[in-house]
């Protein structure tokens, strides 16, 4: 058995498994909402295309191109300045009937992956011969190489540093060997392992930047180098941020490692210090992987997801990297020993490692459950998707690994598990089985990689299409149709089509105002752009919450009067484009599991600290008092901040005590104008116009009866409430 489970075999399997895990890499993000929908048939040309994605996009490297049936480019666009998850393009005014192809090149900020997405829409009649392209991902061989190099070497580095500081030195430390406290043959083996892994990691990281630049710019490596395109990626993308952080950390690790070699003769005591310190630096390197993982695009508590993933990869690194490091070090360390001495030496190291591995396995399982809970929303997500299948495979493999680890754990403490030992026996030669466990760890790592590279299920509630609200009104011979897209709280576009006698009316001056009477909230007036063909477009984030909203639309011809129509909308949260989700019970349960697992893993350490504490009455009292005071002050601070924010909001925008019940449409404005001329003609002045933006409807309503800051009342005593509201509506028209 020993012949077949050699370090070379471990290396080969490690490489194959990592390659297997990385080959099907695909992006983590997905399309949430599109306007128009894929293969939609529209009566008239849309004015704008909007595609919302589940994650932030890299603005410099994402684009959208619209082609007509002949392949001619008719429009192009990019990431919206207001929303970095929205890819949008303004269309020309004169798109004729026919099919239009939308080619998108999408670069996700979280992982730097680039996908191509092709969508189709039709103006006039649908053409079944033109197909949508769906989503394609162009794999790059370089990516497989650098991910293999970086993941394998980083895991081995973290595992080696942790094993050195927490297993080998405490178990085998010998002060006679001042440089590192371990015999030279062991330090030499460790130095070779770290040196080789570090070199591989540095080269892998350099390749990563080159490959990402090739993908972002769709350029060959020669161009990336000669035109220094890599600098643009390094300085202008999230991938570049993480790359820089990782490179700095790897250099720090390299410097510490170099100093440990350089100073091992003159200052041998410093060797152990540098090695121990490097474990912390490698923990940060592993964090850089989490910041570019599925977790970074989590719709639920993304920072919790990132920290959870970080904990996951740290424990995987300590466990898997540790098993690999032990398998590589043990043969060299045990060379001079045989018989009982060899057994005792093995037990000393393996018992310590077994405790670390057990704690890590528990944390890995708990954090894995939380990660799964982030992406699995329904039973079909678990049973009918590639992600669910891969997750199941991973669970089965981890189960096998746990069984094998358990066998090692029991064999290391036969006196403690006497009943089990009698039934199943014990492992006596640990080196071969440890290598076998290392190989199984790598298989599990492979499944972890496959899972990380498998697209997450698209939540069912995101796939539900919510139609955009639309309505048509007629006034003064105009037929006015307005559509609010997507029609939920957030950024919307307001498309208004104006026809007269069935023909589009161009050249009008059109402006819009969004009003929510129940909050007495009104936006500034928006000037709608004349997009031609009778379509006038505007956009903005005026609708900030669900509820009843009005769009006041004023139309004015060059030399004509002004017309007013008012659209009423019931804005619902269902129409909102959701990039974030509220955590559910399953997430809180999973977080509880993670905390319990971490608590359990750290319990021995906490116990050790507890033993060293001076638990005198005075100290305990001060400590408890400090903790209570800190929690109390923090909670009070949060409450005070929340109350202050609420009071500030209420001061700025208090809810009205009287709500305007009259739609400010043309009829109301006409009545209001008559009333103003008749009862309070002196009101309209520069002073009033100046004050209007700062004056609420209910104050104007009160003023019509009681007078207002220098204005006499409008004989309000003889006006009905409805007439007073007509007055208010008309006075509002003077607001700029």
């Amino acid at each position: 058995m020993r012949r077949f489970i050699s370090p070379r075999l471990i290396l080969i399997v490690m490489t194959v498994m990592t390659l297997m895990s990385i080959a099907p890499v695909s992006a983590h993000g997905y399309l949430i909402r599109s306007i128009p929908q894929d293969r939609a048939t529209l009566e008239r040309s849309p004015t704008r295309l909007q595609y919302w994605f589940s994650e932030a996009l890299e603005a410099q490297f994402s684009s959208l191109t619209v082609l007509d049936q002949s392949g001619k480019v008719v429009a192009s666009g990019g990431v919206s300045e207001d929303n970095n998850t929205l890819l949008t393009a303004r269309l020309p005014n004169d798109l004729g009937d026919g099919a239009y192809i939308v080619d998108m090149r999408i670069a996700f900020a979280s992982d730097g992956h680039v996908i191509a997405e092709r969508r189709v829409f039709f103006v006039g009649e649908a053409n079944p011969n033109i197909q949508s392209g769906g989503t394609t991902y162009s794999a790059n061989g370089f990516e497989i190489v650098w991910r293999t190099m970086l993941l394998t070497s980083s895991t081995l580095l973290l595992g080696t540093f942790i094993v050195y500081g927490s297993v080998l030195v405490p178990a085998w430390g010998n002060p006679a060997y001042r440089a590192g406290l371990l015999p030279p043959r062991v330090m030499t083996r460790l130095n070779w392992m770290v040196g080789a892994a570090l070199a591989v990691a540095l080269v892998g990281n350099l390749l990563a930047l080159a490959q990402q630049s090739m993908v972002f710019f769709d350029a060959p490596i020669e161009q990336v180098i000669s035109q220094q395109l890599w600098r643009v990626v390094r300085e202008g993308s999230r991938f570049g941020d993480l790359w820089t952080a990782r490179m700095i950390l790897l250099v720090i690790v390299g410097v510490c490692y170099g100093l440990s070699l350089y100073l091992r003769e003159d200052q041998p005591e410093s060797v152990r210090g540098f090695w121990t310190a490097n474990a912390w630096a490698m923990a940060l390197v592993m964090g850089s992987f989490s910041a570019g993982s599925h977790a970074a695009g989590s719709p639920i508590l993304p920072w919790v997801a990132i920290f959870n993933d970080w904990l996951h990869v740290l424990c995987v690194g300590a466990w898997a990297g540790g098993v690999s490091a032990m398998a590589l070090v043990l043969p060299s360390a045990l060379t001079p020993y045989s018989g009982e001495a060899r057994r005792l030496a093995q037990l000393a190291a393996l018992k310590r490692f077994s405790r670390i591995a057990t704690a890590c396995v528990v944390v890995v399982i708990a954090t894995g459950i939380y990660s799964s809970a982030t992406w699995i929303y329904s039973s079909s997500d678990a049973t009918d998707t590639a992600f669910g299948d891969t997750l199941l495979l991973k669970v089965v493999l981890v189960g096998g690994l746990v069984v094998m680890g358990l066998a090692h754990h029991i064999s290391l403490q036969p006196e403690r598990y006497e009943q089990w030992v009698k039934r199943v026996g014990v492992i006596r030669q640990f080196v071969p089985t440890l290598r076998l466990e290392a190989i199984l760890v790598l298989v599990v790592l492979g499944s972890v990689g496959v899972l990380g590279a498998t697209p997450v299920p698209v939540p069912y509630f995101i796939q539900e299409a919510v139609p955009s609200p639309t309505a048509t009104l007629t006034s003064a011979g105009y037929s006015i149709t307005q559509t609010v897209t997507p029609g939920g709280p957030g950024v919307n576009t307001y498309d208004t089509q104006i026809l007269r006698d069935g023909r589009p009316v161009e050249g009008l001056t059109v402006r819009l105002q969004l009003v929510q009477p129940e909050r007495d909230k009104r936006s500034l007036w928006l000037s709608a752009e004349d997009a031609g063909n009778g379509v006038y477009i505007a956009a903005g984030g005026e609708i900030d919450r669900a509820g009843s909203w009005l769009t006041l639309v004023d139309l004015q011809e060059d030399e004509g009067g002004r017309e007013r129509v008012v659209f009423e909308w019931a804005i619902t949260d269902e129409a909102r484009v959701e990039q974030t989700q509220v955590p559910r019970l399953q997430h809180f349960v999973a977080i509880g599991l993670v905390l319990a697992a971490v608590g359990w893993a750290l319990y021995p350490t906490a116990q050790g600290i507890y033993r060293r504490l001076d638990l005198s009455t005075a100290n305990v009292t001060v400590a408890i008092g400090t903790i209570i005071a800190t929690i109390g002050l923090s909670a009070a601070g949060v409450v005070v901040i929340q109350n202050t924010q609420a009071e500030y909001e209420a001061t700025l925008n208090p809810l009205p005590t009287i709500i305007n019940p009259i739609l400010p449409d043309a009829d109301s404005l006409g009545r209001g104008e008559d009333l103003l001329k008749r009862y309070c003609p002196d009101w309209v002045s520069a002073s009033l116009i100046d004050r209007l933006p700062r004056t609420r409807d209910e104050d104007l309503f009160t003023a019509t009866e009681d007078g207002w800051q220098g204005f006499a009342d409008c004989d309000g005593k003889i006006l009905t409430d409805l007439e007073r509201w007509d007055l208010v509506n008309y006075i509002r028209t003077f607001q700029k």
Binding site: A109, G173, N174, T244, A245, E269, R272, A277, A281
Partner: protein
């Protein structure tokens, strides 16, 4: 003065950078502490005091084998 931002492209804007750099600073401090603590001789003295072959005890802290 326009300074080059290193780590501020995330959803939290400037907080993204603050969180990243804070974690980095904490870990670098931990590196320093580990380095200083490992250099002093406390654990070395513990190892010296140990007999080197005391694996029969149930106390894990005593499971040491002085490697030659």
């Amino acid at each position: 003065m326009q300074y080059q931002v290193i780590l501020a492209h995330g959803a939290l804007g400037i907080w993204d950078e603050v969180i990243f750099l804070s974690i980095g600073a904490i870990f670098l401090v931990m590196m320093g502490i580990s380095w200083v603590r490992s250099r002093n001789s406390v654990l070395d003295e513990e190892i010296e005091a140990d007999d080197g072959h005391s694996t029969n005890t149930t106390d894990p802290s005593d499971e040491r084998f002085r490697l030659e």
